[in-house]
Symmetry: C2
Subunit: 471 residues, 2 copies
Amino acid sequence: MSNIDKWRKRAAQIVGQENLITENSELIPFSHDEYALDTFNRMPLAVVKPATEEEIQEIVRLCRELKVPLTVRGGGTGLSGGCVPAEQGVVLSLERLNSVVDADPANHIITVQAGVALKRLYEEVDKMGLYFPPHPGDEGAFIGGAVATNAGGARAVKYGTIRRFVLGLQVVWADGRLSNLGGKFIKSSSGYNLTDLIIGSEGTLGIITRVTLSLLPRPGAISTLIAPFDSVRQAIETVPDILHRGILPTAVEFVQHEVISCAEQLLKKSWPTHDGSASLLFILDGRSEDDLLAQAEELAELLESGGALDVLIAESPERQEEILALRSMIYEALREGTVELFDICVPRSEIAGHVEFVKEVEERYKIQLPTYGHAGDGNVHTHYMRKAISNGLLGAEVTGWQQLHQQVREELFADAAARGGVISGEHGIGRVKREYLVNNLGAVNVEVMRLIKHALDSENILNPGKVVQQY
Amino acid sequence: MSNIDKWRKRAAQIVGQENLITENSELIPFSHDEYALDTFNRMPLAVVKPATEEEIQEIVRLCRELKVPLTVRGGGTGLSGGCVPAEQGVVLSLERLNSVVDADPANHIITVQAGVALKRLYEEVDKMGLYFPPHPGDEGAFIGGAVATNAGGARAVKYGTIRRFVLGLQVVWADGRLSNLGGKFIKSSSGYNLTDLIIGSEGTLGIITRVTLSLLPRPGAISTLIAPFDSVRQAIETVPDILHRGILPTAVEFVQHEVISCAEQLLKKSWPTHDGSASLLFILDGRSEDDLLAQAEELAELLESGGALDVLIAESPERQEEILALRSMIYEALREGTVELFDICVPRSEIAGHVEFVKEVEERYKIQLPTYGHAGDGNVHTHYMRKAISNGLLGAEVTGWQQLHQQVREELFADAAARGGVISGEHGIGRVKREYLVNNLGAVNVEVMRLIKHALDSENILNPGKVVQQY
């Protein structure tokens, strides 16, 4: 019996035959994530769907014994090929690990299994009357995957990325042992911070089985502001001054009007303004209506003195939702023609410069690179397009995009590094960006990461080939 | 020539003879930190004071070559023996590495060398017109040491511990290579989070040479409130409700009146109230006087409906300072009679139970255990006293404190673990608590820490014997 046949037989004993997929046609969805190209896609030799942490431990021990590489998969919404299986590898799907373990409103804490989808998590937190600020775009993502990539989203300006909300993790290590890391406390100086090491390690150091999150009280009031500007630089450059004045919006997004037009076409709705060439979008929250109003007034003044052509406040929840939908549907609108969505993060003061550099690259290569993103935290999204955009609609395929893709990527990544930034602010390195990490972080940093990977998974069982190339 | 003689000769060549201490009398201050007992004190064979990161690299390479253990020392204000040298070891003092590398008000960021004292850091941040919230008690601590222990302080309720403010580090690894970790960006999903691994690792994984910190705008207004209660439990139990209502104080401290009397005696000042047996102390900050007033009014209402006997607001900055001085001088007032200051951290809902347990232990062992701490974040400070306290004054030595010390420690630590807490919330494990870490975190977690230590410092050069016992 071949190794993989042995594996399949014993895996079926662990999870039950009905929770083991081996049919080629059923394996296809597990061969890729949402990265647009098929460059790194690979069929798993099997997919296993454990129901408990103990079953995960057994599966990991089995993989280690039979030297079968194991890749964990959450919602499959990643953009870096992080959950694509390794050669001769299998996939462990978290979809059956979807229970709320402990809802603890007194401590403002919830513990869920890793396979809980974000949509469900928001509902559970809502039932508790509390608030979980991080909001990566896709609510189909699982919390385990969101933690494994340290997912961000727009609300990081005020609240930080998901990392800040993770108080504890349950992890299965590469040898099948299980740890509870952290806990229901907000301060610890008790040994190395393994929790934060696992967050963002993309399934290469341990399998996240449970996540303990700190929650916040719901804001008393929320409001959305839009301010159009003549240029994207002028828009972005007002932001530091606003933050400096102590106004801390939940989100500050910049959009160029030629980019938002794609979402307008898709949703058949209109962005509140077409003055100028770019807008800033602010989400403000406050303890009360009064607190919010005071912030909004001060913000409007600062925007006007910073050159805003107008300041529009969305009063009704419906109008707020419409505006946020337009912003968040840019990705959806461009998706069909997108080859790669970058998520470079630079220091706040470098955003405008980086966006201008992207424009320059766009003109030089004649490839459209629609760009928008998080003006409050420096996380810039650029789409590498294989289709032309005209009046908000995707047109014909651009000839030569295949040949230019790598060059453009290298130029953008080099610019990020030169500005003291990183090549991934929220999507992760996965397989797609692995070769670029050394240039970004330097050889010593990557070497230290490899040492840690080797120390915790000497047999290279857990998601090998991702983040860093292993020994 | 012996190994250490060789080391001294070459170290003198690296830093200059005047920056190398070898005289016994001058080495004494480097044989201990502020832990009260001399159990773990040890004389270093030499102290070296490098002036640059490059000199640190050379010293580390030298230590590795000659197998001389190296312990880094900051301000020496630790309480866990973390900077006490290893057997046949030397000390590297950071005192000459005290420059501001980069003050960047536009990005709200400062980068300093690790030997900058906290007092100086606050001054530099003040010059920038900005605010660095973390405030561990002793301003003589160096930023490098504060980061190495993930120091906390009272302001963690709203702002978190120092970890949340560290955007980047420069680190010299055990092989003498240097890394820049993180940077001037607030989002990253680019490889393993080495920054947070180094924070809290107490000099055992790498030597922190530079720290990049994010800063905040100064709050527009600050106020201090005191509310006395009949019992400490009643006081503590109002806190979750307050936080739940969206009032997020900078600090929430609980003090028992019999404990504060020691600080009253020392400072010859009076705590604002002697009603009841315990007080809550709140520091509130707000964007404006109006914002602050709204918070204070809502807080006062909640306190009164929670059973507060009174709510006192300190209006003037002078009176605010006096009250905070009284709170922060408790440690100083008890110090002379203190054997050990614990810093257990438990979930917020477990604070009252833990404090009552301490009381019960106090009565059972007839050892005074004055307790106070951070009611907002669960970090509880208990003094193990060798002297009796009476009417706020330290009296005679208690017979038998030596025999009971370990038992009491074990009882408190076991209670912390049983409540889902940790044995150190902010002081670190160092040497003093090392043997207790396994019981707190479990064997697997400690084993993983040892694997990481071994991977990054296979020769055990960096601060061996601290945090975890090495291979």
